[in-house]
Amino acid sequence: MLPRRLVTSALALLVLLGGCTGASEQLRWEGAEPVEEGGGGGDSVSPRILALIARGQFAEAQVLIHESVKGGLMSQATATGLLARIQLLNTKLGEIPARLQRVASFPAVLKDYTLHQILLFLEQRDYSVATQAQLMTAKKLIEQSPRLMEKIP
């Protein structure tokens, strides 16, 4: 039981740590320790939510996030950060601003793939659709483009 949870938590961290772009993503990683199933006391990110996000079960994760905020288990700032991350994971490479699709190294072959799919390719070392370098460029473009729309601090 414990090893499985450790694995899912590590997986969740991998996918989530993939990139913290905007300043709005104030996540508290110490809360990602596998403490108790479905737990996450106080203001921390529950490992179950992280695991759901890592597996691409976004709808379930969203429900749990909303419930955690309602139940006082999670701060609004953490919830906002997680929801923004889910939105980013659902973003396809072809949905980033048109100008950024003109960067020299743009991997057009990945246009119809979401960040979530791209991260899975990388994690599974599956280079059947695109090379590792192309996958990493796609990941970078999706993760970093939102900061250009934000106000400069």
Binding site: R99, L100, K140, L148, I152
Partner: protein, 175 residues
């Protein structure tokens, strides 16, 4: 140009084109301001971002212009952390140049940390001076975690603790 005029023109540029960063009208105003005031860094940084999101009509190669603008911002700000970070993200994302990006982010982090140490030391002192001891203790504890070797932070934080003990907020042994 007076400071008021600079700021008024920056605000006008920000609001142009419905506030969309890559909008043509917005870019036009930021570009005009940049040529009238080439050392006004806030405008250069906004122009740099806008050019990375520019509408097609803004020009064929706005990335070259963005790079020049951001390098200018680094230079005229005397390598401020903010300008370094903007140039670094550009080089990483658009130019795919991690080797050039890394030292810029190292430099920016170092500068930002020194600024934070300076700001936190001053903040703890000014909080103690005003008797806002609870907040002074919070900031002091946080600052000590991040800057365990900083004498300035240690002294300011100790002053906050002494004041808190005198006021009965902390037991004497906690000093």
């Amino acid at each position: 140009m007076s400071p008021e005029e600079l700021l008024a023109r920056l605000r006008a540029a920000r609001e142009a084109g419905g506030g969309k960063p890559g909008a043509l009208e917005r870019l036009r105003l930021h570009r005009e301001l940049a040529s009238a005031a080439p050392a006004f860094v806030p405008n250069l940084l906004e122009l740099g971002r806008g050019l990375q999101l520019a509408e097609p009509a803004a020009g064929e190669d706005t990335f070259t212009e963005a790079e020049a603008v951001l390098r200018q911002a680094v230079e005229v700000s005397e390598r401020s952390a903010r300008a370094l970070v903007e140039l670094a993200y550009f080089l990483h994302m658009v130019r795919d140049a991690p080797q050039e990006t890394e030292p810029l982010l190292e430099e920016a982090s170092g500068k930002a940390l020194r600024l934070l140490e300076d700001a936190w030391t001053g903040l703890v002192n000014v909080l103690v001076e005003q008797g806002k001891l609870q907040r002074a203790l919070e900031v002091g504890d946080r600052a000590r975690q991040l800057f365990p070797d900083s004498v300035r932070i240690a002294m300011a934080s100790e002053a906050a603790r002494s004041a808190a003990v005198r006021e009965g907020l902390l037991p004497p042994e906690s000093q």
